[in-house]
Amino acid sequence: MKGNYELENRRFIIGGVAIAVVVIYMIRLFSLQIMSDDYKKNADSNAFLKKVEFPARGAISDRNGKLMVYNQSAFDLMVVMNEEKGHLDTLEFCQSLGISKEYFIKRMNDIKDRSKNPGYSRFTQQVFMSQLSDKEFSIFQEKMYRFAGFYVQRRTVRQYVYPYAAHVLGDVAEVSPSDIEEDDYYQPGDYIGKLGIERYYEKQLRGEKGVQILLRDAHGRIKGRYQNGALDRRPKAGKNLTLGIDVDLQALGERLLEGKIGSIVALEPATGEVLCMVSSPTYDPRLMVGRQRGKMHRELQKDIWKPLLNRSIMGQYPPGSTFKTSQGLTFVTEGIVNPVTTQYPCSHGFYYRGLHVGCHGHAAPLSLVPAISTSCNGYFCWGLYYMMSNRKKYKTVQEAMNRWRDYMKSMGFGYKLGIDLPGEKRGLIPNAEFYDNAYKGSWNGLTIISISIGQGEVNLTPLQIANLGATIANRGYYYTPHVVRKVQGEPLDTAFTRRHQTMASREAYDYVVQGMRASVLGGTCKHLNRSDIIICGKTGTAQNRGHDHSVFMGFAPMDNPKIAIAVYVENGGFGADFAVPIAGMMIEQYMHGKLSENSMKRAEDFQRRRIAYGKANR
């Protein structure tokens, strides 16, 4: 039997138990509150609902202020399941939305399925159908009061005024996971520019999202604003863009290239602004809006004529005879030829050491100006041959070649020009190393003679050809071509306002301009000779495994030029067949703002003309 003293000691055991409990709980508290940060994050995500407010995306208009792209409200139909609760007259509901009952049931089940819709709560709005058009919505709206639990949330979709310039404008679509990874501005469900200037100017167009920090309770119901909105941010609207594009010119270009594959690029030489950029085949940008965008995009991707390809900046073609102008400039500036006294023979072509480059019949021998106007192959072959073989000036053929390459580079060839559109290609200008590799070091001027007439290894994009026109029009410089001439409230990127001087001399340009004028007056593009506009031009007929490509490069008027243009029609035959008349109509349209009656008839005629492309060809 225990003594009182022993029992009294039991108070220490009881007190010890109390101390142990408190100590263990304090350790547990320490691990919960101090050691781990997860609980804090968890509590914040429980309590704060960051409600994003979307800014209006910037509008886009053409150089004359004609609106091209704007925002239109669309409506997302939302449902709160807890309020819907099956009181719905399903039949009437489906009829007013034009959906089937099966679709309705499937949609409702999908919303409730947390594996497909992880953020589901029956107390908050869930998207039932997205982007209802005005028309769909107005039918539904009349009856909406009868459908308890359904709400409408306004959002905007892109709308296009004209069915033109799809490649330039591009489109917007929901962000992809990789977009989100790249820029944490985006969250799933946001929209982002995918192509064209929508993509290039995404940061300017998108504006800045606003946010409201709301408090929500355990049922997801909103209980008010956190700190009365002190931390909220208002959305900032996107900036409007003004394009260099003249939408009428663009429209005419797209009409003229209907049924043909090719490209038209027109630039304003004084600024580098793109006046039109046509790539054919094209598509209607209005197809790429709303719910059907994904489907349309896939279909266009499957199309064998690749309508999604912007040939103006992605197509790399042999420039053909239009390239001869750049050769003339180089030879004169380098002193290989004297523009007046140097004359080269041409008897139906260039013959030397068994090499023959054919030419058509014309008076010979001739100097630079008539060589350009008649597009003489012989003259430019001789020119390049003498340049490559000039051992007084260049120690080796490699040195000569790289000198030549430098000239080409200065004219904007061989590298991306840096236009404000995604996906530009650089074309190809060979250098000495290129030929050393190709011919194992044993090559000379004759080996590479065809580059002098824009064939062989040389490839340019239509944009680069147009830019060649602009440098000649400017007599020696160009501005990087750009489609956007003004971003609301901010200066244009200095990359587009810096003058790029070419290596060719002013004197050389004057002779080349004379030659291009002569070809209009009495040479290969006589067709363009008209009294009201003084046009300078150069045709090209780019040889090809199939039918030749029809090319034209030119500018107008000769003094104080307003437009430089390149037209490239795949398999169009001689330059004069397609490219020259198309360029003529384009220049007339731009200079006069409209076409004469005769030209209108011609335009219709050209619009109807189709070039037959074999399927195997592409």
């Binding site: 009881i14 304090m26 804090k40 429980n46």
Partner: protein, 489 residues
Amino acid sequence: MEKQIDKPASVLRSLDWWTILIYVALLAFGWVSVCGASYTYGDTDIFSLDSRSGMQIIWIGTSLALGLFLLLLDDRFYDFFAYIIYGFLILVLIGTIFNTHEIKGSRSWLVMGPVRVQPAEFAKFATALAVAKLMSTYGFTMERWRDFGTAVAVVILPMLCIVMQKETGSALVYLSFFLMFYREGMTGSILFTGVAMVFYFVVGIRFEDTIMWDERTSVGKFVVLLSVQVFTAFLVYFYCHDKKQFWTILAYSLGVTLLALLFSTFVIPFDTIWVQMALAAALVGVLIYQGLARRVRTYFYIALFTIGSVIFFNAADHVLNNMMQPHQRVRINVLLGLEEDLAGAGYNVHQSEIAIGSGGLMGKGFLNGTQTKLKFVPEQDTDFIFCTVGEEEGFLGCSAVLLLFLALILRLIKMAERQPFRFGRVYGYCVLSIFLFHLFINVGMVLGLTPVIGIPLPFFSYGGSSLWGFTLLLFIFLRIDASRNMVRQ
């Protein structure tokens, strides 16, 4: 006559002001927490009587008045009326069972007009008084089974009534009286047996489906049966003072178990549970033989413990898997970490852990908790009130609350030990045991350490009944303590 006039003054002088200070501090802290827990955005008036924080002020005020009143009564009043109060409350408890007014599936509320009271909260002090009076009667001794049995019956009776009101949580509080019994001489082996049973249950169920490396034996069963033998060996050591037998039992148990395990691992895999069962049976045989041979009753008790342990474990397993309601089973599984059910049974605890964890060191500040404000934690102003402390006052606030409670309990131990009569000491231990039990279960469940048993945190949880109940408990003891120096005939 003169003596009576002097009385209030002498009561004030010998009153334990430390306890009162802690009591007031806890009340203040508790009111701040109720404000935090019941506050909703846009509803700024925490003093309005429409809000729970406003109502709590009334409960606190009436509690203080009640405390003062209790101090004014003569200490002999409690001694004298103990059985009458007890009898009255038992009648009320029984009456409440037949009350048809259910609140949240419980019949524990007595509705009298606009006032709702929970008699179970008041039965605690009545039981404490009754058991104190019983144990202080002349000749009462814990060693006599009859006396001890009567005391236990006094405790069990209200417990049964409350179970029948479907308030199992409140009924469990009465287990805390066993801590007082322990202080008063109940053999420690009963407490030990209780702890051992909880151990069997937790370990056995938690690891039942985990299989050992021999691919036959369940870890849970194996560990439980092994510990039954080890516990038995220790009991022999402590209560029979037989070191030799202790080592023999331990050596045989562990040796045979190891052999069986090796055999199962390397020769033929078999369920070693059967060997362990045989060992346990052999152990019981040895103990009974020893008891008969040496004529020492203790061996029988130890054998009873061994048999009871094995039966308890198997019965618990059976009850859990075959007899319990699914939702009860889920609760137990969630607590043992066998199931993760954050949306269902584990939701409360998970959200309360988030609330507490998000408080950090300093907390988010008064009325700035988001978890509690936005009602993520159910029962946040009653049973889960400690969440609010954790979220708004942080680790420092929580620690302060825990230390205040610890100070109160230790102070009560000191006070109980200085009582000149058994009546005061028993009553004091009852009070502190009840506080300790509430603290242990309530804070433990909020921290995810003990099962979710719906009992309030004294002085913190919202509600008049519980606040009055605890005030009664505490102030009666304060009154008794204040008379400790009075010389009586």
